[in-house]
Symmetry: D2
Subunit: 478 residues, 4 copies
Amino acid sequence: MHQLTANDPAELPESTSDVKIGYVGGGSQGWAHTLINDLLQCTDVSGRVALYDVNYEPAAKNAELGNQLAGRDDVDADWTFEAHHDMEEALADADFVICSIQDPPEETFVHDIDVPQEYDIYQPVADTVGPGGAVRALRAIPQYREIAATVREQCPDAWVVNYTNPMTVCTRALYEEYPDINAIGLCHEVFHIQKLLAEITEKYVDEAEDVSGSEIDVTVKGINHFTWIDEANWRGHDVFQYLDEELEDRQPIPGFEPGDLDDEGYWTNHHQVAFDLYDTFGLLGAAGDRHLAEFVPWYLDLEEPEEVQRWGFRLTPSSARAGDGEGPAKMSRYLDDEGAFEFTESGEEVVDIMRALLGLEPIKTNLNYPNVGQTPDLTEGAVVETNAVITGKGVSPITAGKLPDQIRSMVQTTVTNQETLIEAGFTGDLDLAFQAFCNEPLVDIQRDEARDLFAELIDLEREYFTDYDLENADVLAD
Amino acid sequence: MHQLTANDPAELPESTSDVKIGYVGGGSQGWAHTLINDLLQCTDVSGRVALYDVNYEPAAKNAELGNQLAGRDDVDADWTFEAHHDMEEALADADFVICSIQDPPEETFVHDIDVPQEYDIYQPVADTVGPGGAVRALRAIPQYREIAATVREQCPDAWVVNYTNPMTVCTRALYEEYPDINAIGLCHEVFHIQKLLAEITEKYVDEAEDVSGSEIDVTVKGINHFTWIDEANWRGHDVFQYLDEELEDRQPIPGFEPGDLDDEGYWTNHHQVAFDLYDTFGLLGAAGDRHLAEFVPWYLDLEEPEEVQRWGFRLTPSSARAGDGEGPAKMSRYLDDEGAFEFTESGEEVVDIMRALLGLEPIKTNLNYPNVGQTPDLTEGAVVETNAVITGKGVSPITAGKLPDQIRSMVQTTVTNQETLIEAGFTGDLDLAFQAFCNEPLVDIQRDEARDLFAELIDLEREYFTDYDLENADVLAD
Amino acid sequence: MHQLTANDPAELPESTSDVKIGYVGGGSQGWAHTLINDLLQCTDVSGRVALYDVNYEPAAKNAELGNQLAGRDDVDADWTFEAHHDMEEALADADFVICSIQDPPEETFVHDIDVPQEYDIYQPVADTVGPGGAVRALRAIPQYREIAATVREQCPDAWVVNYTNPMTVCTRALYEEYPDINAIGLCHEVFHIQKLLAEITEKYVDEAEDVSGSEIDVTVKGINHFTWIDEANWRGHDVFQYLDEELEDRQPIPGFEPGDLDDEGYWTNHHQVAFDLYDTFGLLGAAGDRHLAEFVPWYLDLEEPEEVQRWGFRLTPSSARAGDGEGPAKMSRYLDDEGAFEFTESGEEVVDIMRALLGLEPIKTNLNYPNVGQTPDLTEGAVVETNAVITGKGVSPITAGKLPDQIRSMVQTTVTNQETLIEAGFTGDLDLAFQAFCNEPLVDIQRDEARDLFAELIDLEREYFTDYDLENADVLAD
Amino acid sequence: MHQLTANDPAELPESTSDVKIGYVGGGSQGWAHTLINDLLQCTDVSGRVALYDVNYEPAAKNAELGNQLAGRDDVDADWTFEAHHDMEEALADADFVICSIQDPPEETFVHDIDVPQEYDIYQPVADTVGPGGAVRALRAIPQYREIAATVREQCPDAWVVNYTNPMTVCTRALYEEYPDINAIGLCHEVFHIQKLLAEITEKYVDEAEDVSGSEIDVTVKGINHFTWIDEANWRGHDVFQYLDEELEDRQPIPGFEPGDLDDEGYWTNHHQVAFDLYDTFGLLGAAGDRHLAEFVPWYLDLEEPEEVQRWGFRLTPSSARAGDGEGPAKMSRYLDDEGAFEFTESGEEVVDIMRALLGLEPIKTNLNYPNVGQTPDLTEGAVVETNAVITGKGVSPITAGKLPDQIRSMVQTTVTNQETLIEAGFTGDLDLAFQAFCNEPLVDIQRDEARDLFAELIDLEREYFTDYDLENADVLAD
């Protein structure tokens, strides 16, 4: 037996008092603020955070904010923050590296969404798979190679935590460049499904009150954003029997009409796709519907965009992706008014994970990690979504077993595409990339049109493809 | 070394003088006539042919024709023909069993083509994959179980040769029912591509004249009708270098406009799809374009049916499938006029194969056979298209090696569907069958519409689904 | 995230108050007493224990003892004990089944040890592998089939915990008979190695005091009694670096002379074999040396039995195995003197495991379980030693990754033997069993002598082989 | 179908008139003379042979002999012979490369045989496995790396034919160094078993007279010298039924007594081991007994060397290996007397294979080739013995299917050892090599003695281990 309880805090390992965290993309106003929030509430680990960003200024602002907050009276934690112009410096001797980066949406993401739409390909997210996801992956691979190479050079034993999409390809690129890297990818989607199952549990189990998502013990298999659950348990109760009851209540599926969601936000989610996948294939799709729908050709085969509302979700227009206008104002307010920043329980796990890896409290969670047997019927070494136990010894994935044949077939199609994109990204071969592009389930258009679409996207984002052999790519030839 | 030359005819094995061939579907006027033609030109094997058909009369007519022709002066071969009311009798102690059956097209095939078209799914053939192919597979499985069970009972060591489509599923069903069966499936499509490569060889190699397709040595991998060639050789010449030259000449691909083929027959084939697959994925698609196009969503994603002509082939209307009106008249003519039947070189190989299996002349050809290592990256035991050496020891598949990743992904999707259909057919589970149906690449329509389509097809062909559990199939529920 | 902490005891699941445990081999005086000891100290689960044994009397005595102790003032737990004549009754509706059985040693075990010795094959344990282990496995398989069949019939969802050797084969037989069974096998050997590593940690880490074995987090791979550790961690410290230092101190290995251990007990263990395997192959053998030595031909290739002392362990004479004379006297004392039985901390985990499976406190431990990906380079489905997380959802093995090639080769040889013995046991085919027998690493004698040895063992234990086809076994023919 | 008959000689490919063969080890008096014999009887291919040897003189003599014979009146073939001082020159632009090399036996082979015998390890051959085979493999790997590197540089598309033992490791080293190499290994052992089966066929089949081994169609699986046959056929007759009859006649096995073979030659073979393996494991061992016995610990576990005669074969003393004194005299005779050399039918296939690869007559034979699916249960990429079809397109292995589990276990043990030796040879890591050495089935001695033996062999042959890291090898440390 190995004990799962926390170590006595009186006996803290020495290693917890001088931790260095390198942060790539440290100018962000999302994850960076969350990290500041979480670290400054963590009192049994201390150290410093080195923020690096291609744009130095926002990183410097974040450092300033972090240090200012660290000095507040209501903060007991002991962390300092610093901004860097070089990634090498930021990562030198780091114990942990966090990655959260994004290309300017107006020059990239907006095209990824809008151009395919001209070819009648609709993508609610466009950051994982589909034409948009594939192109985003190709852009990200060279950047993640650089990060991995820097880790190998500056902090070869550090644990690297990735938050950037496409999650799978980014994390996989780290391992392809530096096979001995210690890296994981973190994503929220499964937590939302645990929350849904917690609500169902509360509804059907008498003694269940205020059940949190983390109390639902789920098996997790598949890949990020196309994850599947085949077992869920709350304190010995099989939650899937309640799910079956619940689904009878919720028939018919799809249960909406075009227009029904006009007043809801772009991110609304009624789990119609997740439930339909459960009805048809027997396992619950464990991500938001907007993600799930992009992995199969059925839900987004639309005559008119609003038809997608039948499935209880909406398309996100590219305008909603083009930069976050509120960020700078919020930052100014935080810096001007020391009390403006309110510490919250973020729900993020990165600090829990760091504590576990430092030999403090072990945790079990889902994350993205190379397949070393946890899903034996998917490609070995591909990055999969997986439950894992995290201790001072590291990350130990938990076996999830095989997928049912038809689900495996769907998942493996994307796994193969992702592996091909990695190969294309590492060799700079866009003709190879185009093979994967054609086999994206959303790319069910005429073959010659697919080529036009691919070439158009590359052309529009040309400056982000300097690592590719554009000259000799047949797919780009006239 | 094992000699590949023919045995001296003076030393014919005893076993060649009393061969029994059982024929399931013996009332056909296609394969049965070809078999009569070929056997009556084979003088080193003799015996009898037992014809069985669900309709006795046509089988009896075929027997009459065979015996009449066997008596003709220009025939030296020694074969007799007999018709049977029972499959058991026809197969009792058979050395070989030939299967070539078809449900009445008006009650089945016509729906398989027409109903999906109402859902904007166009299928040029509809007998292998796609909605039509899937439903045809489900109908065929119980029939092939019965054949396999009869073989196990009546002639367990016989070699069974299948000609019926869907080739892969029919052959696979034989092995699923009776794993020790000796069965192969035969199909022409690769020969046509060998012919194409022979023509290209003649064009580019000076000394090459009158090159026959069988002189082109090709590697064959994949599955029936979605077969791939990655090497072709004529007497030490690498034919693929000439193919590359030829393709430059034939650009652009696709090279036709809608309407261009209006005056060509339904079966016209300009290899545009095969060449496009070669351009994109690097291996040559080795089947007719009408077949190849059904395994991917691209070529048949049509606004209007005639758009398909861009790729150099046409859709076959269901009317062209509804029974062959000329058969009976031709048969009358043959029976009335002894000299009317003209013996030809059929190009079929079944008699060559029988001779090889009897220990006469070894041959090497492509056929359909369970995967025992010849394509190690496709499902073990699935039926694949494969080169094989055939001798008195039996059928020995030749290794073909792995497929490139993206081609493997496309092929494996269909392999998985076929394996699922087999499982569904053996358990009678239409909900499971529907999972495979959804994952047919041509079924890229809204999920609830796919369900309507599936249910409609089953309903129209209900009398052919008596072996399925229609009562409890959720997919058929209102 | 899924929480790993204990549920609040105030909210105990209903299911914990009426638990039934069936016990096969319930007349034992080892495990049965330990179970009584542990259950009567467990206050948050209650229920009854149904003891079954081929010999009813000892089971009845155990029930009497259990009930008597349950009534003692110092016991707060709520358990009752009952003895049964039928296994069916004992297992009816059980939530848990415990198996701990043994054939009469004088009629079996004694031969397993002594007869091979006449052929110069020395086995310190003879209950796992080697000629003795193989024959013991063959005897056990029919018994474990019967247990599994009874579970399927009487309590199909029960969790079955096996303690009997050969651990792997017994547990594997349960799954072969009833593939949907929930079964695990428990063994102590890894705990002893954790203890060793804890001692080394105490020696080399300043702040490490009173480190318990369970604090050492180890990776576990391989099979029972031939288990391997490639990583060990204590609160973030890599313990293997201390192991390397320690081994330099302990050179040379082997470090003893014949005769050195004459005054030590038969079970003495100086880890010389474990360390030698570490030196040679790079991973630490994680079982007692007496077990490890039986999986390879080297350590037991002896001219004289006492030579084995060079490696710091002794052979156990069969006399030490022939029945435990003290049992009955101890039992009488316990029953006569209510206070004689002293409750102890047993170190056994079965009650912790039951509590975890009931949805109380999750635990992580090593156990024996079918290979579903945790060791992807060993046979799928074979029973392997593995770390696992145990929760209300069940047993989730943790991936351990591949073994180094040469270790894998050694382990897989035994895995294949065990799988062959299972097949032989289920078909009753002793000729097949003999193939595995020949490939036991200890059976490196002349082939015809191996046959004589095998036949002699079967003959001596003939009454335990009634499920085998002795008539038609070529290996037994004169 | 692809035709298997010879091409019409009137249409010889141009490529057959100017063939260059490079010969590494061209000073040999065995294979080189055979090649001269065979080439000078081959009239439809012509060209030149470039002989290279570390000793130039014998190669020059061979060239002289070849040219002299080529001019004889009874020779119609058109070949010239030349000797080279550099391997590069000899291989430049070669179409074929033949390898047949040997270290001076007195400095190597003699130790490989004699030193293990001091540790009671008896090896009848010592050139494939066992302590001698392992050490020979380590010596050969650097030499074969050099050959492969030269091929890559000088003649990347050439077909390389290896004759040197250890066959598997030498051929495997070629592929490890240059994965795109076209290489095969040729060995006679299977032919001898075909001959045995031909004799049995003649005995039991009435019409069978003068059956040659090549008429027996056998399935071949496993590895060189540890090959297995599970099917044999002569013109439709299952030869294994006759083998079963024959074996009943030949009982008991072993059927000899020590001393029985004192008057027979060292190479005598009574197939007792092959038959015993067939009796025990169900497949026929398809190599000479002296080879087969070295792959398992049973037949060579001897108290006294002559005991091995029980199994119908003898040990070969190292003196019989130390150089062939007759060679130079024979060569002088040949050169002095033009008519002294008599052309014979050698039974070698290398010329047939060259003709097939040049697009002349296809052949089917067994050879050594990387595992690409022909034996799917052995390591992918390992070199295995395999049937193959050879045509102008190249070498196409024929699938042989899986081995029975226990045979697979034995074969895979050696495959793993060979793969480990390759890794050790490429990294220069003798500690890794020692892991494989320990797992040689013949090395069933005390672990510390095995280390002494290994170190002693390396020390005696030190000058052949210059590519290894002797300094840092723990296994060589005192």
